[in-house]
């Protein structure tokens, strides 16, 4: 039927057998090698969990020292951002939880210079003008990985203590109302901490003139600085 010698037929049979075996053997080799590599890789991953991809987390900057964290926790708890239902702290409360004097309290915010701003209000006013809105929007939009937004409103010593405290509160809540109407973020109440400080609390000193502020650049007398709301994101995890 083929008309070839047995030797040639045997040679062809060997060729065919080799042709059948080689691809199949290659498949087996690839698969067994891959299986070995998989076992090794999984063992290596098990042994060094630090090589796993990082997990998304809020920012935690270097300035978040244990002492700062403790103070923040107390303030935020008291102000209702952590485990509470309230929103906003009166200065007496802030003073009691922070257990520090006014200058130390102000110093708390110094590391946030690049992340914060000072909204300067007109005398006896609590409405945000265009430059206030621009600044608070800019600061708030640049949240990054921060967990909490602080609004610390103040009033200058002009006028009565009660009137100034009320003014201070109106300023803080005015900022909050603006954030609510602008950003429509349902989680806003869990992020924004309001503090309203009256005239009895430590006034901001002129070193804060270097911060980004609303209003005219030259208007940085103590009374200008303290008719204000300090706004900043805090890059600390608690």
């Amino acid at each position: 039927m083929i008309g070839a010698s047995p030797g040639r037929l045997a040679a062809v049979a060997i060729l065919a057998l080799a042709g059948l075996i080689v691809p199949t053997a290659l498949v087996g080799t690839w698969q067994s090698r891959a299986a070995s590599r998989l076992v090794e890789a999984e063992a290596a991953a098990e042994a060094s969990p630090e090589e796993r991809p990082a997990v998304a987390a809020a920012a935690d900057e270097e300035y978040c020292t244990p002492a700062l964290r403790q103070i923040l926790r107390r303030v935020l708890t008291s102000c209702g951002l952590i485990g509470g239902s309230g929103r906003g702290c009166q200065p007496v409360e802030a003073r009691s939880v922070a257990t520090m004097d006014g200058d130390d309290f102000n110093a708390l915010f110094l590391p946030m210079r690049e992340r914060g701003g000072i909204l300067q209000f007109d005398r006896a006013e609590s409405d945000l003008d265009a430059s206030d809105v621009a600044l608070v929007d800019r600061v708030f939009a640049d949240r990054g990985g921060a967990s909490y937004f602080f609004v610390v409103a103040r009033a200058s010593p002009d006028g009565s203590e009660a009137r100034n405290r009320e003014l201070s509160r109106d300023r803080a809540e005015g900022v909050m109302r603006h954030l609510e109407s602008t950003f429509h973020d349902p989680a806003l109440h869990d992020q924004v901490g309001l503090l309203w400080l009256g005239e009895e609390y430590a006034q901001l000193d002129p070193s804060f003139c270097d911060w980004q502020r609303s209003g005219e650049a030259g208007a940085c007398a103590p009374e200008d600085l303290n008719r204000s709301a300090f706004v900043a994101w805090i890059d600390c995890r608690l």
Partner: protein, 458 residues
């Protein structure tokens, strides 16, 4: 060129095809360890630097849905280079067998060889068309297979053609031999009688003698008895075995990765996603799929291409969580992997109902928008911004707005709330995460199981 040489060349070109297919199959199978690998991409099989960045046409082709079959049943599927390897192995053996058995003049054997060579040739034409028109990729390894297929087919066809042409010659040679045998030793006179006196041969007598001797010298003998159809049929069965055996071995020996389905976590807090997710396509289907992506991430683009070819694309309500790996807005990356991705993400958010169009544009333009070698991140980001503003001028105001920044920030915070890994792409089907290793070759295998599971739970 003799028939033996032609058959030898068929064997040689088929061997080249075998080597190309072997390298391609081997590259494919190396991914069975669930890791990423560099792949070969050279016109010399197995030579050249490995493509580890996934930028070559070979990578595009290998990761495409066209690189394998039975993807739902076998993790990654069975690479189509594997049956190609079997066909080429058969062609090598068949061509050599023809030579060893002295069948190079057997038209039936050569017809079988040509038909067998036509299989990879026709497949190559189809795959080449897909590669150029569907994938827009030129895969050198594939081109090697195409060329080897074409060479094997043309050479086998040529051998068949020569053998067919040779048969009438052989017949005329036989006639010439007969004629020469009948030539008279003594000359014939004008009346057709043999004369005693010697004479010169006539011109036609000389021609016949020369032709007969030439053909004898060339060994152009009559074609051998052709192979029986039974032998040809047996050869075809053996050919099928050459293809089936490695394919069956691959499918049977493929690892069972079903244990990984759903083993890579779930969304801890999916609530609130509506505020930050970007809808892609119809949102009326029951199974929800979330893709965590960066518009400038090549793997995300690759996933997009693979996913759009999957049946799941028609079965899920799909949305995207923008997660740009760009330090401009993402505090979770220390330096920008994809500068400009934050701005591009804001453009997607600003586009609202046209978000899909912006995303598709970003993927299509990705190679133009990605950071160039030696380019500063800021320059790359500015280039992206210019391109976005030029293409979508209506979004110009929005992309710089605090609202857009805030919305993107909320998307990033959704990732924080759900403790997502800092990488893209990630895929969640009804809150269950696909393992990263399953987002390319294993996509069909895992996605079909996750979809079945989701549908089963409803």
């Amino acid at each position: 060129m003799t028939l033996r040489v032609l058959c030898g060349l068929v064997a040689a070109s088929s061997l080249a095809g075998f080597l190309f297919a072997e390298v391609s199959s081997s590259d494919f199978a190396s991914h069975l360890d669930r890791q990423t690998h560099g792949i070969h991409c050279s016109l010399l099989p197995g030579a050249g630097e490995l493509d580890t960045r996934g930028t070559s046409g070979c990578h595009v082709t290998l990761m495409s849905p066209y690189s394998s079959v039975l993807r739902d049943a076998v993790w990654g599927g069975v690479p189509i280079a594997l049956p190609a390897m079997g066909v080429f192995a058969f062609l090598v053996v068949a061509a050599l067998a023809i030579l060893v058995l002295g069948r190079e003049r057997d038209r039936r054997a050569l017809l079988g060889l040509t038909l067998a060579a036509a299989i990879p040739f026709v497949t190559s034409i189809a795959m080449g068309w897909i590669s150029l028109h569907e994938l827009d990729a030129a895969c050198k390894l594939c081109i090697g297979i195409y060329l080897a297929s074409a060479a094997a087919f043309v050479l086998a066809g040529s051998a068949l053609f020569v053998a067919r042409r040779g048969e009438p010659e052989a017949l005329s040679a036989a006639s010439a031999s007969e004629a020469e045998a009948t030539l008279p030793d003594a000359p014939i006179d004008a009346a057709g009688q043999t004369a005693d006196a010697p004479r010169l041969a006539t011109a036609s007598e000389m021609d016949r003698r020369i032709a007969a001797r030439r053909l004898e010298r060339r060994g152009a003998l009559a074609a051998p008895e052709p192979l029986g159809w039974g032998v040809v049929g047996l050869g075809a069965l053996i050919g099928i075995a050459f293809v089936a055996l490695p394919v069956l071995a691959y499918a049977a020996g493929a690892p069972d990765f079903s244990g990984y389905v759903g083993a890579c976590g779930t969304l801890a807090h999916p609530e609130g996603g509506d505020e930050v997710l970007v809808a892609i396509g119809p949102q009326t289907r029951e199974v929800e799929m979330i893709e965590v992506l960066d518009p400038l991430c090549p793997s995300c683009r690759g996933f997009e291409a693979r996913f759009s070819a999957h049946r799941a694309a028609e079965e899920v309500s799909r949305s995207a969580l923008l997660f740009p790996l760009d330090a401009e807005c993402n505090w979770m990356v220390s330096e920008s992997v994809h500068p400009g991705a934050c701005l591009l993400s804001r453009a997607v958010l600003c586009a609202e109902e046209d978000a899909e169009e912006v995303l598709a544009w970003a993927f299509a333009q990705q190679s133009e928008l990605e950071r160039r070698e030696d380019e500063e991140a800021e320059d790359a980001a500015r280039r992206v911004e210019r391109a976005v503003r030029e293409r979508f001028p209506a979004l110009g105001e929005c992309i710089a707005s605090p609202e857009a920044r805030n919305r993107l920030n909320r998307a990033l915070r959704f990732a924080v709330d759900n403790e997502l890994p800092v990488l893209t792409p990630q895929v969640y089907v009804d809150g269950t995460r696909l393992c990263d290793e399953d987002t390319d070759l294993g996509l069909d295998y895992v996605l079909s199981r996750l979809l079945d599971r989701s549908e089963g739970e409803r």
